[in-house]
């Protein structure tokens, strides 16, 4: 008798307590991307890109009325993100589901206005993922990117996510951003995306594409400037974010350029503080292999390889130097986190520097030491199209 009673009582637990947060998968609106903009009235404009699931299955549905849209965008304005979100929910027949959101776009105008009001919602609401990528839309509104139809993926934000994962540009997640913003001695940066107008590359194609074009530099949660592609890779070297990059160098006297692809990149940083003088040493080490050699050099020869290697090291140093100079002298904000480095390695010195770091940072003396090791010459020494006597042995 007793087991029956127990089972009966347990069953009531199942039917009375369960089910309350049960949602069928087809009652959810999967948000894939979001964009925050500043509306003309000075309110926040939230746009959400929502997947339309039925179209991805192909032609099994109704009579196949051509290519259906794979997503649509809902937007609403509000005094804060929560209000805008609520307004959008009222427009949607399905519950908005944020857990699959992969990218958040922020319009340039909102970036310059300051993003602290829209960020907070991501840190409080447990239904948000901190591993969402966050990006600035350069020269446009976030909404525009959401509305772009990207040819590869079902939904454009997936494409952005894949581009970020591939590691070619600067990928910053909410988590990275929060950590940088809340730490001493480092200012947050963000990836930049730029919609490319159809007229430029893909004429006649209704699909538009977008570019990852560098880095957005923030100061006090306000966008203050951009770094371009080359500067971004310099920044990534300096902040030890570099994973897969390409380095190119010109050798004018040998008649061309060389290029390598990195397979491994590493940064070591040391700092010296002596009175007012602050010195930061960057030791960069990279490993890569040749992909391009337009010079007449036979790079399978050690002395030529050394020559090319030096040129590449020089070029890389220049690239980094350029990026750091821009950050140091023009934006005057420590996006590289050198302050954090000093904080970690020389905590006593940091105590004195802490309060005036913003003014000290532009004066920091940075030395860059690049060492590249190149794994072989690739498949051929000199370019194969050259005659033997044209090559430099």
């Amino acid at each position: 008798m007793k087991p029956f009673l127990c089972i009966g009582l347990l069953f009531t637990v199942l039917i009375t307590s369960g089910c309350w947060d049960r949602t069928e998968i087809n009652d959810l609106a999967f948000i894939l991307g979001a964009a925050f903009d500043l509306s003309d009235e000075g309110e926040y404009l939230l746009s959400l890109q929502i997947a339309i699931p039925s179209s991805s299955q192909g032609g099994t549905g109704g009579g196949g009325s051509g290519q259906q849209d794979k997503f649509f965008v809902l937007s609403a304005t509000g005094k804060n993100a929560n209000e805008a979100f609520h307004k959008i929910q009222n427009k949607s027949s399905r519950r908005l589901f944020t857990a699959h959101r992969s990218v958040i776009f922020i319009g340039e105008s909102l970036g310059r206005h300051g993003i602290d009001d829209v960020l907070d919602v991501f840190s409080h609401d447990p239904r948000q993922r901190l591993k969402t990528y966050i990006m600035i839309v350069k020269g446009g509104r976030g909404q525009d990117v959401l509305l772009t139809k990207y040819p590869f993926e079902q939904v454009p934000t997936e494409a952005v996510k894949e581009m970020e994962i591939s590691g070619s540009g600067l990928a910053v997640t909410l988590r990275d951003f929060f950590i940088a913003a809340s730490s001493d001695g480092i200012s947050p940066v963000m990836g930049v995306i730029e919609p490319e107008s159809a007229s430029e590359v893909t004429k006649g194609n209704k699909n538009k594409i977008f570019n990852l074009t560098g880095t957005a530099v923030f100061k006090d949660l306000k966008l203050i400037g951009f770094l371009d592609d080359a500067e971004t890779s310099g920044l990534m070297w300096a902040t030890n974010r570099m994973r897969l990059g390409r380095i190119n160098a010109a050798l004018p006297d040998r008649g061309g350029t060389v290029g390598i692809v990195l397979s491994h990149a590493e940064r070591k940083i040391t700092s010296e503080v002596s009175g007012d003088k602050i010195k930061v040493n960057l030791q960069l080490h990279g490993q890569g292999s040749f992909v391009e050699n337009n010079t007449r050099l036979d790079i399978s020869r050690p002395q030529n390889l050394l020559l090319v290697q030096h040129a590449l090291e020089k070029s890389l140093e220049l690239q980094i130097r350029k990026a750091l100079t821009k950050i140091q002298k023009r934006y005057k904000v420590d996006s590289t986190g050198f302050g954090q480095e000093i904080h970690r390695n020389k905590p006593k010195a940091w105590k004195a520097l802490k309060d005036q770091w913003d003014s000290k940072y532009p004066m920091v003396d940075i030395s860059i030491d690049v060492r590249l090791s190149i794994n072989g010459a690739g498949m051929a020494g000199p370019p194969l199209q050259l005659k033997d006597k044209e090559t430099i042995k």
Binding site: P3, E24, L28, F30, Q57
Partner: protein, 530 residues
């Protein structure tokens, strides 16, 4: 409550059965010296039985011998050759004096197995077992000759446990053949066969078999005690015995290992277990059983051990899938959509777009339909069965998806689960696993992953609590005996499995000497010794 309890446990009133002959405990009538009188006794007992034969042999009006047998049970050729022929040829010689039954036995009847008795009950029982009874004129002892007819099917490959490599004979419905199958594998006088008769009407012969010196005395005693306790009118299959002697009658897991394969029985006997054979049943029971036995196929021991190990792990995986795949699908799609990768969630969502049911109902529906198809496939005549199950699966699977009633992922999940359940080699064990899927589905559909964890813990707790004849069901994993894990997480090579399993083989733990690993050194040893 009290009334309910009373209703549950109400003692039925048994009708009194009119007895044709006296039961054992009463004073049984004995044969008289009068042949006609004796004949009358048996005629009365077997009245209205058309297959009884009373064959009188004698000169003139004087019957010398009376042979009684049931023609449906005996081999008439043996009766002719070894009873009737010698008797008839002896009638002239025996005319002058009356033979005693013992003389018959010694001099005339040339059958292997004979008994003498004057107890009518005893004689009747032997008649019902297929003996021929020879009554003589002036003796109150009757001679009982075993002349069982050979009405049995031939040995076939067991349909419930087929193997690619390994012996192909299986038990049949005749117990002496079954005993022979085991004896031919274990030719030792230490292999014992204890006979117990159970069933008031069926008088079924039940044999306990074990190897003296390997099976522990207490286990043998326990099995013997439990089996001899059974009181029932008839035993029609070993399943009847199983339900009477298992430890936890409410568990979905089988606590006795039932098998059709004599090689399995022999292997288990060598591990110190006790087998129970039941006449008229091709399934032997082996006690005790462990959880892991349910996942071991006999073929594991006949293929190369790395392959057997791999196949075992595949089986572990698919056993888990058989229980957890549909509940996980339901839980994740209705409660934890954030756990699914974005692309997958979108394609799941699109396949569920037109489906009117919640995922739980959908999964339940398909599971039940699958179970119905399976059941129909088994019950239908062989010729139709296959067609019906194929057509049913196709029609229901494909049509339901195309009509938008069931989503395609559910069909995929249910079919994977269906296949997964068939990877479990022991039929009764697979049944238990299949049954568990339904409560798990409900838990998943109401409580999500939390429910699955609860259900999993419940199952684990239950399995860990089970015992089969004093042996923990989950051994050797819990309680852990590392040495016995050799035959659970891997299938160790035969030369490496030197001991018997801890749970049953401890009264004789060594199975083979160590160091028999084949290799060049094996060849050297004898020459060094010589």
């Amino acid at each position: 409550m009290k009334r309910f309890r009373k209703w549950m446990h109400k003692e039925p009133e048994y009708p009194t059965i009119p007895e044709d002959y006296h039961s054992e405990d009463e004073e049984s009538p004995r044969l008289t010296l009068d042949l006609e009188q004796n004949e009358l006794i048996f005629r009365r007992i077997f009245h209205n039985s058309s297959d009884i034969v009373f064959r009188k042999i004698g000169m003139a009006e004087q019957a010398l011998w009376l042979v009684i047998f049931l023609e449906s049970l005996v081999d008439e050729q043996i009766v002719d050759e070894h009873i009737l022929k010698p008797l008839i040829s002896n009638t002239s010689k025996q005319q002058e004096f009356d033979t005693q039954a013992e003389e018959l036995d010694d001099q005339i009847i040339s059958a292997a197995s004979t008994n003498l008795s004057s107890n009518v009950t005893d004689i009747v029982r032997h008649v019902l077992k297929g003996h021929a009874i020879v009554l003589t004129r002036a003796d109150s002892n009757a001679m009982m000759v075993k002349v069982n007819g050979n009405k049995q099917r031939s040995l076939e490959e067991p349909s419930s446990e087929p193997v690619i490599r390994g012996p192909r004979d299986g038990f049949i419905e005749n117990i002496s053949t079954n005993i022979g199958l085991i004896r031919s594998r274990l030719k030792s006088s230490r292999l014992k066969m204890e006979s117990i008769t159970i069933g008031e009407l069926s008088q079924t012969e039940v044999i306990l078999t074990y190897i003296v010196g390997i099976a522990s005395e207490s286990l043998i005693e326990e099995v013997r005690k439990r089996v001899s306790r059974i009181q029932i009118d008839g035993i029609l299959d070993s399943a009847y015995i199983e339900e009477f002697i298992e430890d936890s009658p409410y568990s979905p897991f089988p606590l006795l290992h039932s098998t059709e394969r004599p090689d399995v029985v022999a292997a288990e006997l060598l591990e110190g277990k006790v087998a129970i054979l039941v006449d008229t049943s091709p399934f032997a029971l082996i006690a005790p059983m462990t959880f892991w036995t349910g996942l071991q196929a006999s073929e594991d021991y006949y293929v190369r051990w790395p392959i057997a190990t791999f196949v075992r792990w595949v089986r572990f995986l698919f056993t888990a899938i058989a229980i957890f795949a549909p509940p996980l699908y339901v839980a994740v799609t209705t409660f934890h959509q954030e756990m699914i990768p974005t692309n997958l969630v979108l394609s799941l969502a699109s396949s569920r777009e037109a489906v009117p049911f919640p995922a739980l109902i959908e999964a339940l529906l398909m599971e039940i339909i699958f179970e119905a198809l399976r059941e129909a496939g088994i019950r239908l005549p062989k010729q139709i069965g296959q067609a019906v199950s194929i057509v049913g699966a196709l029609v229901i699977g494909q049509a339901a998806v195309e009509a938008g009633i069931i989503s395609a992922p559910v069909v995929i999940i249910v079919s994977i689960t269906g296949i997964a359940a068939f990877t479990i080699p022991r039929y009764s064990f697979a049944n238990g696993i299949r049954l568990l899927r339904f409560p798990m589905l409900f838990l998943a559909g109401t409580l999500g992953l939390y429910g699955i964890v609860l259900g999993f813990l419940g199952i684990l707790l239950h399995v860990a609590m089970l015992r089969s004849f004093g042996v923990p069901y989950f051994t050797p994993v819990a309680p852990l005996t590392l040495a016995s894990l050799k035959d659970v997480i891997i299938r160790a090579p035969i030369w490496a499995k030197t001991g018997r399993p801890h749970a049953t083989g401890m009264s004789n733990p060594v199975r083979e000497p160590a160091g028999q690993k084949p290799g060049p050194s094996q060849g050297k040893q004898p020459s060094e010794n010589n």
